[in-house]
Amino acid sequence: MLEQLELTLFVSTTVLYLVAWGWHLRGWKLGSAAQTKIAIRILWVGWVLHLMMVGLRWYLAEHVPMLSAFEFVTFFALLVIIVFLLFALKERNQMLGVFLLPVGLMLMLYAATRPMEVEPELPIFASLLLKIHILTTLVGYAAWTVTFAASVSFLYLERKRQASPTLFDQMAYRAAFIALCFHTLGMLTGALWGDRVFGQLWFWDPKETWTFITWLIFLAYLHARYTLDWRGRRAAILAIVGFVSLVFTYVGVDFLLPQIHGAASESMMGQ
């Protein structure tokens, strides 16, 4: 019964996100603030349903709903959408949504391909450190997504020679800073958790290695801006490269390097 309700909430949320994005695109094309406002309202309704779904999941699973792939991705989408909604409360230029909302939507669609069953929490996952690791990683991911969407917005506006692309350039930079803080914290807490469970801080398994590579790219991004005064186009392209690396870290590694990751996991399990 409750599982059915969860599924209904998930489907409703995804549909509302899709409708909101369509509406948002329409409002943006027509340059109509009224249309965009409607899109934001639809998005708020979708987000509240999403929040209810995550709350219900928490209740059903009896553990923080961030452990399975389905839970992780839906929580990620929840953060991406709320970041945009909070941004929309403050900024009048809502172009960010054109590129940010599809990321949230894609995450929901990706979650739909993952097994949805609630599973018990394994004893090794019952650790506060692990929860902090996942949460900080997710906040970092969400902030990188903003950097990505802002960078794409910048490139689009620059190509169209429209006003205020620097707003997005600055936004990308600020979001990248927050992202780096949380990404770093995520890596450190993950290493400490790994140490507690597997007796080793770092394994260099593909997931960890690609997290490190992505971290290096974003480090290069911030340093290029900071010391080389990279602005606009070049910085935006580097940010997009970093985001592609981030997506590969989460999704690509699992699909393209399955045996390698499997072997790494096995070596963790036994001796």
Binding site: P123, L180, C181, T209, I260, Q271
Partner: protein, 322 residues
């Protein structure tokens, strides 16, 4: 002679023309390394050296840019920048140092027995092993063997000079840590240790200890057979087999209820005990890593807070002037 050389080296490593290609090379090598199942590359001296060189370059770039950061972005930004980079350097130093110090042993503890491990000022006694398995109802459609146990608790006593010194419980995720030495049970590294009682055709009895992590080859009636324990829920069994033409040929299964005879030799199970694999290690660089992490994160937060605050002030100042 040396001073000008060091000066040139400093200028070279402090140049972004070197630092950024170095970062790119590090990233490319790391990407290539991630494609191999065994990440041995990351433990090689040259990879660690490259990491060290990157750290040195980072330090020099920061030092060289101190005056311009101070002039352009103020004292608070400088503090943030220095703290963050110092944190990264401490982390790199900790990783390199950790690669060459400390010890790590992987041992098996048998229930009720004492194990002596090199480098330790105490011996380890595994008093009891508490294991609880998941049922298929918990994880429908999942191979339970691929999951950690529901409960895997080792009750351990440490002995010094033959006397009880400390007692505690350890499980994966909750090691016993004493004097910077950790005792961490390995996930699902569990099995049965057993004694095999062999009675030959003349009625002579021989007891052979069978440690699953070091499989014995036993001569039985001219055949060289091997045996291993089978971990089934609370029902220990031993499998016997021979290897012929690189193929495993099963000879039978022995349990308490089911004795086995091979070539006229009677086989029976003697004493049976559970064992668990554990890691025993110390990591002298741990506090270095924690310090590096704190410095790096504090520096980032400091930098972000003050950059944001200063920018807001600048914006307010500009609007006031306008």
């Amino acid at each position: 002679m040396i001073i000008p050389f060091l000066n040139r080296l400093f200028r070279l490593l402090a140049s972004l023309k070197v630092a950024i290609p170095l970062l790119v090379i590090l990233a490319v090598i790391t990407i290539i390394g991630s494609l191999f199942p065994e990440p041995e590359l990351f433990k090689t001296w040259w990879y660690l050296s490259l990491l060290g060189l990157q750290g040195l370059s980072l330090l020099f770039v920061t030092i060289l840019h101190i005056p311009s950061i101070l002039r352009r972005k103020g004292r608070n930004t400088l503090i943030g920048v220095i703290t963050t980079h110092l944190g990264i350097l401490v982390l790199i130093a900790g990783i390199i140092y950790g690669g060459y110090s400390g010890f790590r042993h992987k041992v098996k503890l048998i229930e009720g027995e004492i194990t002596v491990v090199a480098d330790l000022p105490f011996v380890i006694q595994l008093d009891e092993l508490l294991i609880e398995e998941y049922s298929q109802e918990d994880f429908p459609g999942t191979n339970l063997d691929s999951l950690p146990k529901k409960k895997q608790e080792s009750r351990i006593t440490l002995l010094k000079n033959g006397k009880q010194w400390l007692s505690g419980e350890a499980s994966p995720g909750n090691p016993i840590i004493v004097d910077s030495i950790a005792l961490l049970p390995a996930i699902s590294d569990l099995g049965w240790y057993f004694e095999l009682i062999v009675v030959d055709r003349q009625g002579r009895e021989k007891t052979i200890p069978v440690r699953p992590w070091a499989l014995p080859v036993i001569s039985v009636g001219g055949k060289r057979i091997m045996t291993k324990s089978v971990v089934t829920r609370d029902s220990p069994k031993a499998e016997f087999f021979i290897v012929e033409d690189n193929k495993i040929v099963p000879l039978g299964v022995l349990s308490r209820e089911q004795p086995l005879e091979i070539e006229g030799y009677k086989l029976a199970l003697g004493q049976i005990k559970r064992y668990t694999g554990i890691q025993v290690y110390n990591r002298p660089q741990e506090w270095v890593l924690v310090l590096g992490s704190i410095l790096m994160f504090a520096g980032l937060v400091w930098h972000f807070y003050f950059r944001h605050r200063d920018r807001k002030r600048e914006e307010r100042g500009e609007s006031d002037n306008a």
